[in-house]
Amino acid sequence: MFAELSSILNASPDSFTQGEFVLVSDRQSDASFLIHHFLSFYLRGDAVSQRLGVSLAQAKEKGQLVFLEGLKESLSVLIPQDTNTGSKAMDFLRDPAVGLKSLYEFPSSVSSSGSRAEGAEEWGPLVLLVDDLSVLLSLGVSVGAVLDFSHYCRATVCSELQGNVVMLARCDGEEEEGDGDDEGSETLLKGLTHQCSLTLHVQGLPTGFCRDIHGQVEVCWRRRQGDGQSTQKKLFQYKVHDKGASFFAPGTSSAVL
């Protein structure tokens, strides 16, 4: 958990808004460090374990973390064998035109399974973290299917169960090019931005490569208040180290001051 980012988002492990759909996106950059932040943020335990760090293996054992590793499961689908014992979740790889319904069944089954009820009082509401929707696009799934998938996840987790959803979507093209080079991921990004309540968009610096400042993060809140929507945007620059990331206002990097 990055303490600076938590304070920027006005969230702490004890009190955070529920029913939020967070979109983490990047353009020609790498936003996966933010997934680490959210993972450790939501997996927080008591104060002692917070200081010691969060152990994913332990969380998985206790049942707090349910992990679907698409890469491993996909192999049995991509190389068909006679005995197919893989889980059904990655079946969409066989025929991507069909859609992501089988993949959606995984979070819905977790949310409705009885085993969750045992420890449900201990832990908070359900949080769904999706690392990299753009990989689904490069595997042949259509943009519409991915948007449907995200919509269904949001409907189930955010509205019904008052949980949170965090999704990562990546983009490669330049923002100004509208030639249709990268139609798929641009459309996906636009569609997801409209659905979500909090966006963190990671980009490289507009002035070029810098060793001390790895890029900029634009945080955008979209709140529905009364009649219309209000959006609030903030821009930060960041640097990723071994143990975390530091966020600062543009121009105030320790390398500059």
């Binding site: 460090f33 491993k72 190389i79 595997l139 093209g173």
Partner: protein, 408 residues
């Protein structure tokens, strides 16, 4: 802590054992020690050498086991093919197993062109060679008159132990001797030899890629490279070299059309390849003719699906060949992606202007750097000064090695 050390301080010639001390370090680490690999100092991953020591440095010490290196080919596929051959040659020298797949040339031809290693300290695997004791040849005492203290240390590493060097140098003008090459186990996949299957196995992946993926999985299972396989025998690394994926010879139309029909064939294959590699002790080098792929976003998603990615841009045939700026180099090298395994941030190289040069004994990658021109007349700096300034290790040393034209 007093450890029993036998005869270290003695300089007498009575000392007959070639081991300086009998102290043995107890390693409690459970790291499997495979010849030709070493753990990374940054994140503890197991690394293998790509065969090019300067490329190892750029990638953070070497290629991590279980990852893919994508090489975007230069225009005539000369230098990318050279790096592939270095990679395979390094596998032969470290006694790893090889898997070569190609659609254009027979893998046997590629294997015959491997460069010869410079063998001053590489032990060729010969059956049962006794370790040489120092006291055996008394006449060789005459050989060392000054460094006589080193007389008792072994000159040649025992052939039973693997080469302890990480990364070797190769002589490009000679090809590897057949004995050395045949000592390594090679698996081949030559696309024209595999008949097209009638039943389409996957809707987005091409038959050629499916066949290749299936063949790779078979080899990994059969030879025991799975991480989950029982540790009965000693482990080894499988080096996979895939030549020119995405080209028309594989049946792919990525390079032929602006809007290819099988847009996701190569990306699905790379996804499956990564799934295979992550669960086995293997490393892959894939070359792709990216200069033929018009869609930059597609190239971006291909890069994202591989872990390491570099692009080569050679000067051959372009107007840069005669440009005096680049006269010492054969091309530019761009590092597109370096993975961050088990850590938050990846260590991209600090300098983005890298150039490579294929010399006879080394493929060197240096920072393209010109010293400031301090002379009165605008003349090209002499060759020696340029070569001295552009070394990889030095930070930003300018060529201040004496400019004779400076007189005030």
């Amino acid at each position: 802590m007093a450890a029993p050390m036998s005869g270290v301080g003695e300089a007498s010639a009575e000392r007959s054992s070639f081991n300086a001390t009998s102290f043995q370090k107890k390693t409690r680490s459970r790291l499997i020690s495979i010849p030709g690999t070493r753990p990374s100092v940054q994140n503890g991953q197991l690394l293998v050498s790509t065969g090019v020591t300067s490329l190892d440095y750029l990638l953070g010490g070497g290629l991590a086991v279980g990852t893919v290196l994508l090489i975007e080919e230069d225009r005539y596929d000369s230098y990318s093919r050279m790096i592939l051959k270095y990679f395979l040659a390094e596998g032969v020298v470290c006694r790893h197993e090889l898997f070569v797949a190609a659609a254009q040339d027979n893998p046997d031809d590629i294997l015959q062109e491997l460069p010869a290693p410079i063998l001053d300290d590489v032990a060729i695997h010969k059956p049962v060679e006794q370790p040489r004791l120092s006291c055996e040849p008394q006449d060789s005492m005459d050989a060392m008159k000054i460094a006589w203290r080193y007389q008792n240390l072994p000159k040649v590493q025992s052939a039973l132990a693997s080469s302890s060097r990480f990364g070797h140098y190769y002589d490009v003008s000679k090809t590897m001797e057949p004995e050395i090459r045949q000592a390594a186990k090679c698996h081949r996949f030559y696309l024209p030899e595999h008949p097209t299957q009638s039943s389409p196995t996957h809707s987005t992946m091409l038959e050629s890629y499916s066949a290749l993926l299936k063949s790779l999985q078979e080899v990994i299972h059969r030879e025991g490279f799975d991480v989950a396989a029982p540790m009965t025998k000693s482990r080894n690394i499988l080096r996979i070299g895939l030549h020119s994926l995405g080209s028309a010879l594989w049946g792919d139309d990525l390079c032929c059309h602006d809007n290819p029909k099988n847009v996701h064939a190569l990306t699905s294959f790379l996804y499956g390849l990564r799934a295979l590699l992550r669960s086995s002790l293997s490393v892959a080098v894939v070359t792709v003719p990216s200069h033929l792929i018009q869609d930059r976003a597609l190239m971006g998603s291909i890069t994202r699906l591989c872990d390491n990615a570099i692009a080569l841009e050679s000067f051959k045939g372009s107007e840069r060949e005669t440009n005096p700026l680049y006269k010492d180099y054969h091309g530019l090298l761009h590092v597109r992606q370096v993975p961050h395994l088990n850590c938050l941030a990846s260590k991209l190289p600090d300098h983005k202007d890298l150039a490579f040069k294929l010399k006879r004994k080394q493929f060197s990658i240096e920072r393209l750097h010109l010293p400031p021109d301090l002379s009165e007349t605008v003349s090209r700096v002499s060759r020696g000064e340029l070569a001295g300034a552009a070394t990889m290790a030095s930070g930003c040393s300018s060529g201040t090695s004496g400019n004779k034209h400076l007189d005030f």
